[in-house]
Amino acid sequence: MRMHRDSVNNIDHALAPSELIDAAHECWNRAVQLGEQNGYRNAQATVLAPTGTIAS
């Protein structure tokens, strides 16, 4: 989880809105900190399905 959090550092501030990058740091810090205390209920959280496979 720390590896996933640390990879937010790889987003270039010159290329994306700062408010988004700050928001990403904030929730990942919270996720890791809380997880270290109590573990996670879900072992995996997000996926990106090809848009064409998703019924609208």
């Binding site: 994306a16 809105p17 928001a23 919270r30 996670y40």
Partner: protein
């Protein structure tokens, strides 16, 4: 569809069969209800970069079957994918490096579309948020076509990102659905309850980038996608730990919890 079959379809169409996707040319060719992917290792990619020889081996004994140019094999896979969209590629070392449950087992496979990449005999339900629904500004472009300045002005104030609140609501709904879903086998049911994998995600990234005036294949486009993906996943995991009692966490062992924190 695999290359040889794709070529057979092309030959049938050339000889007068309908090229309609539901026509006879496609109907007579088997194997179209499947996706085929190739798992490649870092070692293979390095061989491609160095233009080295690659050895194929038998699955059972590891005996060398063929020695071929890695770069040629790579080229053949790329051309086949260009012609007929198969094979897909999966990067085995990368997948297992970012795996959250290394202590349980490695990741061997995925679902056919490859978005769910997790332990054997697990399943997850999907929910995709449409990014365009989160645009703050109206999406209509200026009359007379998009002007560069208008797009530039828009870029700053229309950052469309699913709100953290929306991520939490959908993630919670999916969490509840784990216990309401039915699963194809008992083992998949057991492990899906044990690990409770979820598949929150988004759709319409390409449209979002176009609306925001960001080229699809650009560093800015990728940075935009990385930011919103990070927010969605970070918020989901933050909520995942929020369910109160200790017994509610996914029932992995201590070693799983340790591996997870890595």
């Amino acid at each position: 569809m695999e290359g040889a079959r794709g070529e057979k379809v092309a030959a049938l169409i050339a000889s007068g069969y309908s090229s309609d996707f539901n026509g006879d040319a496609y109907r007579t060719v088997s194997g179209q209800n499947a996706n085929n992917s190739v798992r490649v290792t870092d070692r293979f990619i390095e061989a491609v970069m160095k233009d080295a020889v690659w050895e194929t081996t038998t699955r059972t004994t590891g005996e060398v079957v063929e020695r071929i140019s890695a770069r040629q094999l790579w080229r053949e896979m790329a051309e086949a994918a260009w012609k007929c969209a198969d094979p897909g590629l999966q990067f085995d070392d990368t997948i297992n490096k970012w795996h959250t449950c290394k202590a349980t087992d490695r990741i061997y496979a995925s679902n056919p579309c490859s978005e769910f990449v997790f332990l054997d005999d697990t399943a997850c339900n999907l929910a995709s948020l449409n990014l365009l629904k989160f645009l703050r500004e109206p999406t209509a472009l200026p009359a007379g076509g998009p002007k560069a300045e208008a797009l530039e002005a828009r870029r700053g104030d229309s950052t469309s990102t699913p709100t953290k609140h929306a991520c939490r609501i959908f993630f919670l709904a999916q969490e509840i659905a784990v216990d309401l879903a039915s699963y194809p086998t008992q083992r998949i049911a057991e492990r899906s309850h044990q690990f409770r994998p979820l598949g929150l995600g988004y759709a319409n990234l390409g449209t979002l980038l176009m609306v925001e005036g960001l080229p699809y294949d650009s560093d800015a486009g990728r940075a935009r996608a990385a930011s919103l993906t990070a927010i969605m996943t970070g918020e989901a995991y933050a909520l995942s730990r929020r369910w109160p009692s200790r017994r509610d966490r996914f029932r992995g062992t201590r070693s799983i919890a340790r591996a997870c924190s890595r």
